[in-house]
């Protein structure tokens, strides 16, 4: 059995090692497992437990906890994040230490009720600046929502300058030596974790850094991976760099950017894309870029998309579906925040044109906004149809700039257009 690890005379790591874990939340890979870090802090008037571990690892956690404190000494349980990998052992801990008071972030209240499924729950919801005292030790809270769930917060031990940061600054990396100056090279794991877990919440990362950077920090104690005691501020600086805009923006504040991605089998979708660009360029203040997905790489495109205001995607329908590069592009959007960006789809088709509606549905699923119905053209675009594309580009650009002409619709028509989409899709899946 492993032992608890002393971060200081009063602070212990009481987490669990999970070296066998290979994929996390299904999508995240981890080549050497992970750790679930929980901590105990002892003050003159009681003990605080900060986070717990996943249910399957509860045994390790309780053994470590019992080695440093009695259950009746636990005065406070702080939950920096309610995801099951950190709250799995919570119900049992509450049973063993019924007197302990729960502290959670202001935005975690509904989630906690859902998690524990109890009506009579007693807890304190805290925001930035609130503190809880353990006598000669004080824990202060930082409200850092959406890193990477709405409920997340950080907790700072004032007397020892230790930041219990939750998933922030964490990574999936399992090494029993635990300290960043002792473990193997985990840089890739740190970067990978940021890219897949934190990057979609870039704005929230920036807000959190504004709260964290002014603190004096001796140790960063995250919920996964190495404890950062050697040059901890380097990791904060790295988050600052990673959350900065990827591309130097040459666009001035009044301009908006629209990117038209397309891919074409016989050139029809290319023609459409070019006409859409022509239309969009008629609107002052819109900067349009055109990219053939065949000639580029999704990783580079995703940096462009992160900084763009609007995205249009063109794909032909082949075998009742959009083509793979288009789907690859759309799945890469999950790595960044595209919520609220303007989006649209277009494309040519042979005898059935499902691709456009399917892409539109996916774009809506990503919470992008689609004010226009996409253009679909059968086979080779006629002059009239090309004019339709130009009009579409123009209207998309007008929407981007907020200068589009008013429209009046009947609700029935509005919903019929959407219903038609779903019907077409169900035909495809049969």
């Amino acid at each position: 059995m492993t032992q608890p690890v002393w971060l200081s005379e009063r602070v212990q790591w009481i987490g669990a090692f999970d070296p066998g874990m290979r994929s996390f939340d299904i999508i995240l890979k981890t080549p050497n497992g992970t750790t679930y870090n929980a901590y105990a802090v002892r003050g003159s008037e009681g003990v605080a437990v900060i986070d717990t571990v996943k249910a399957e690892c509860a045994e390790q956690f309780f053994a470590h906890l019992e080695a440093v404190a009695r259950y009746d000494e636990i005065k406070v349980i702080i939950l920096n994040h309610l995801e099951p990998d950190h709250t799995g052992a919570l119900p049992e801990l509450m049973r063993r230490a019924p007197q302990a008071k729960l502290y959670i972030s202001q935005s975690a209240q509904l989630m906690l009720k859902a998690l524990l499924n109890r009506k009579d729950l007693d807890f304190t919801a805290v925001i930035t600046g609130d503190t809880v005292s353990l006598g000669d030790r004080t824990l202060r809270f930082l409200h850092t929502p959406y890193l990477h769930w709405p409920d997340t917060q950080c907790t700072y031990l004032e007397e020892e300058f230790i930041l219990f940061s939750g998933d922030v600054f964490g990574c999936h990396f399992c090494d029993k030596r635990l300290y960043n100056d002792k473990v193997g090279d985990f840089r890739f794991a740190f970067e990978y974790y940021y890219t897949h877990i934190m990057r979609p919440f870039r704005e929230h990362v920036i807000n959190a850094l504004a709260l964290i950077e002014p603190l004096t920090i001796n140790i960063i104690a995250p919920t996964h991976g190495p404890i950062l005691r050697d040059q901890p501020t380097r990791y904060i600086e790295r988050y600052r760099e990673l959350s900065a805009q990827r591309l130097q923006n040459e666009i001035n504040a009044e301009e908006k950017t629209l990117i038209v991605f397309y891919i074409s089998a016989y050139g029809s979708t290319t023609q459409m894309a070019e006409m859409i660009r022509e239309g969009a360029e008629q609107v002052p203040g819109v900067r349009v870029s055109l990219y053939d997905m065949e000639g580029g790489d999704t990783d580079l495109f995703v940096d462009l998309v992160e900084d763009a205001d609007g995205i249009l995607v063109g794909s032909p329908t082949i075998n009742g579906d959009a083509v793979k590069p288009a789907w690859d592009l759309l799945s890469s959007f999950a790595k960044i925040n595209v919520r609220g960006k303007l989006a649209g789809a277009f494309g040519s088709y042979g005898w059935s044109g499902e691709a456009v509606r399917m892409l539109e549905d996916r774009l809506r699923g990503l919470k992008m906004r689609l004010p226009l119905e996409g253009v679909r053209i059968k086979l080779i675009p006629s002059l009239e149809e090309l004019e339709q594309c130009r009009q579409y580009g123009l209207e998309a650009a007008e929407h981007l700039m907020g200068v589009n002409a008013p429209r009046v619709l009947e609700m029935a028509d509005l919903l019929a257009a959407r219903k038609q989409t779903t019907e077409e899709l169900s035909v495809v899946t049969i």
Partner: protein
């Protein structure tokens, strides 16, 4: 059936709807910036602003009000500076923000003409 006009000022679209329609049934379809998440009145993400016609919307329930309050403290500019949730809530109430100017799109039904916008 009685009709009402809902105007989404950010996309400049007006929809003629039967009374009783919820804002969220329209906002996504017209491509408005009004966001949503849970669709059940829990998360507060679908907050929107009522520019005109607040008297034509369904009444504010206790639950909607609580979620609005929680949501506000999160998003209000300067809440960090005040660092005092109660003072902020008192201020919001005084200025009659909740329920009058701001509602949840997944909860609010339309009974007459309104103009709405994302926040």
């Amino acid at each position: 059936m009685a009709k009402a006009k809902v105007t989404f000022s950010d996309v400049n679209v007006t929809v003629n709807v039967p009374v009783g329609t919820r804002i969220i049934e329209l906002s996504e379809a017209v491509g408005s910036y009004i966001a949503y998440n849970c669709r059940e009145g829990d998360c507060g993400v679908c907050l929107f602003e009522v520019i005109k016609g607040q008297e034509n919307l369904s009444e504010l329930s206790k639950e909607e009000k609580a979620v609005l309050l929680a949501r506000f403290h999160e998003i209000m500019e300067g809440w960090r500076a005040t660092n005092n949730l109660e003072a902020l809530q008192a201020k919001m109430q005084r200025e009659n923000f909740i329920g009058k100017h701001c509602r949840l799109a997944c909860q609010t039904q339309v009974f007459g003409d309104v103009i709405v916008a994302p926040i």
